[in-house]
């Protein structure tokens, strides 16, 4: 019965072909360093899932952001776990993505024909930092507030366009309710959508070119 249902679906959707194409690819001999890309993808999905759950209680307003997080931590069952996973997962994701980039660099995997994979990966690294930057403000405690004051000031020293960049980042001249809501919006909509799209491109390129073998004496 189940086999019949599977066969019917497979004939139309092509699970077996997809499996062969996505997961049953020939791989060069690798090691644990080659798993960091999958680890990054897993962390991205985990951040997405825990982030969605956090928005059930989190409120992006200066009056309530801090209180709503206190409520998540102390009032909601397993809120500490969901937020803890999101909090530590964020640091871990930056770390894992960065080590993944170092591995790619040292194994020379960025060379022809994988230049675009490398460029997409660099964009993914910057987007990951952007997620960290925007997410850091959301607890709206003293540390978050002043970190954002300092970090947006960095944007403000760009020659010429600096003052405009500063106001665009903050949504005005000060870190305010507008800053919090635009960081929240970027954190849950803009950046994740771009991240997901570039991850799609990155994965497509990896499937198209296959994974690179480590250079040996002949290279």
């Amino acid at each position: 019965m189940i086999k019949n249902i599977y066969a019917w679906l497979d004939e139309r959707l092509g699970f077996d072909d997809m499996y062969k194409m996505l997961l049953d690819r020939p791989e060069p001999h690798g090691n644990w360093w080659n798993t960091l890309g999958s680890a990054s993808l897993f962390l991205f999905i985990m951040q997405g899932v825990t982030g969605i759950f956090l928005t059930v209680y989190y409120t992006p307003s200066p009056d309530h952001a801090y209180d709503s997080i206190q409520y998540i931590m102390n009032g909601v069952a397993f809120g500490w776990l969901i937020r803890g996973m999101h909090h530590w997962g964020a640091s871990l994701m930056v770390l894992v993505v960065f080590i993944h980039m170092l591995r790619t660099f040292f194994s020379a995997s960025y060379k022809y024909p994988r230049e675009l994979t490398w460029i997409a990966g660099s964009v993914l690294f910057l987007l990951t930092l952007g997620m960290g930057f925007t997410g850091y403000l959301l607890p709206f405690n003293q540390r978050a507030y002043w970190a954002t004051v300092v970090a947006t000031n960095i944007g403000g020293v760009v020659p010429g366009a600096g003052p405009f960049i500063l106001r665009a980042l903050r949504g005005g001249s000060d870190v305010s309710a507008l800053t919090l809501s635009r960081f929240f919006s970027a954190h849950i909509w803009g950046l994740p959508l771009i991240l997901a799209a570039v991850i799609g491109l990155h994965l497509y390129l990896i499937m198209r070119h296959g994974e690179s073998a480590y250079p040996d004496a002949d290279d």
Partner: protein
Amino acid sequence: MASSHRISRRDFVKVVTATLSGIMGAAMGIPIISYLIDPALKVQSSEAWIPLGSLEGFPVGSPKAFSFTRSNINGWEKTVNSYGGFILVKSGGDILALSNRCTHLSCSVNWDEGREEYVCPCHDAQFDIEGEVNAGPPPHALDQFETKVEEGNLFVHFPAVKAHEG
């Protein structure tokens, strides 16, 4: 395939995978479901005995207004609501505690000394000294608070309840 008493390596791996997946699924599923339904599991009781001070402070035979506030915490949000009513100490010693909330649209009624009536400013509803409807749109009598006296002090029980019929 495996014979009846021996399990093949392939089947063993399947069973172990299914078991571990089940454990991991529960380890993730239980916190997530608890997290989502948590507020639905908490029923907060707002019932309380509200102290109104010494019973001697309430005159016999004429209603005297009282008021109090109750705070309500939903998650991280605290709201404070005001409530009020009238205490009527009857000559026999019985105490009647009426809510001042008009049963029509919840405006606050006032005791009109001259007319011997509670009058609602919104739609001119009138209640008698016992809280029964004299005139106007209200569907039923004013709500009542349960009362108790302890060591000479008067308490009313929050929330007010619908007056008994008849």
